[in-house]
């Protein structure tokens, strides 16, 4: 049995299972997540914390689907649940829609100004939350994409989740300038609500409390990326660092 749920399991696992999504019988490779199987066949399931390059954690609970046979059904998050032979899946049952609406209404109360939350909520007919907003400026939905991108893709783990429910937040160690950060900005680019602040001015990128000088291309002089990031690349690939001091266009 394969327990690692990935989005690209077509090549590694050839065995297929047949399952039913919204009453339609279809095939999916074993080990694939319900979300990917459903999307592959054109079913629309909204997500906030899912990214195809990152392992799924099931944080936002927007991708809920209902599985099983009446009356013994339950909601699971489709991004982590693997396809199973004979599984009955509903992507838009009343229970699913109720759960999804509530998740969006709760997120809207948390981050009333987050555009993506507003849009998704509007799609479900929710324009205002009945719940209380603590901080009208809050934008972080705690989806954890930034933390995962930094850890899994960039490989430096400069930020993490800290504390639990009442004060949970994305943070650098001790809330100080992050020593491990290479200034790549992946966290800010992947953030669905644009809450991670970073600036670029006069050849310097500022993010997570640190200034990162940007490296100009040895040929054209345009800024490529923070020098620290290029050095990090050189370190993990073993290539000489100068190799990265020439931009893509000039290579």
């Amino acid at each position: 049995m394969v327990w690692k749920i990935t989005d690209e399991t077509f090549e590694t696992i050839t065995e297929e299972v047949i399952l039913s999504i919204d009453g339609i019988s279809l095939r999916a490779p074993q080990g694939q997540s319900l979300l990917m199987a459903a999307r592959h066949h054109g079913f629309d399931i909204p997500t906030l914390c899912h990214h195809s390059d990152l392992p799924s954690e099931g944080n936002c609970r927007l991708c809920l689907v209902e599985i099983g046979e009446h009356p013994r059904t339950r909601l699971v998050n489709s991004c982590t649940y693997p396809v199973e032979a004979g599984l009955l899946v509903q992507t838009a049952s009343e229970k699913v829609l109720q759960g999804r609406r509530m998740v969006l209404e709760l997120l809207l109360a948390r981050c009333p100004k987050a555009k993506i939350v507003q849009d998704l909520a509007a799609q479900m007919g929710i324009y205002e939350s009945r719940f209380k907003t603590d901080d009208p400026e809050e934008l972080c939905i705690l989806c954890g994409l930034c933390v995962r991108a930094c850890r899994e893709v960039v490989g430096v783990s400069a930020i993490s989740m800290a504390h639990r429910t009442p004060g949970k937040l994305v943070a650098t160690p001790f809330l100080e300038a992050a020593e491990a950060c290479i200034g790549c900005g992946s966290c800010a680019f992947i953030c669905p609500t644009g809450v991670i602040p970073y600036t670029e001015k006069d050849g310097v990128r500022t993010i997570w409390g640190r200034d990162f000088p940007l490296q100009p291309c040895n040929v054209c002089g345009n800024f490529i990326a923070p020098t620290a990031q290029l050095e990090h690349w050189a370190k993990i690939t073993g290539d000489p660092v100068e190799h990265y001091f020439v931009c893509k266009d000039c290579r």
């Binding site: 800290a162 639990r164 160690p173």
Partner: protein, 151 residues
Amino acid sequence: MDQERLDTILSRYEGDAADLIPVLQDIQDQYSYLPKDELKVVAQKLNVPLTRIFSVATFYKMFSLIPKGRHQIRVCLGTTCHLRGGPRLMESFSHRLGVEPGYTTKDMQFSLETVGCLGSCAQAPVAMIDDKYFGRLATDKVPKILKLYKN
């Protein structure tokens, strides 16, 4: 930083990332908090990112990033204690010591905390000072008990 003191703790473990929580517990027990410099050494020795240490240190209730007092007062706010005067007991301690729960007195003698349940529910309300339990603790007994621990 007292390198020797930290090495003594680290030497009890094999240096696996999985030892992180026991190592932090030992540091917490001995130092009464998790000093930042020590945590940086732990990160290196166990080969875990500092972010992971910070998230662990802020997730679990037993860890503190600021020094705690000489005596830990834990007032139980389990269900039975809640129903039988736990919150008032908490206030009484808080009032006598002049600190809110979660904080330490200025003279560093006492840290005041609440705890989910100490498991002595039949004797509610209960408090624990260091490793000693006190049961059926009416608020009028608080000054007497504190006196036992003052210097």
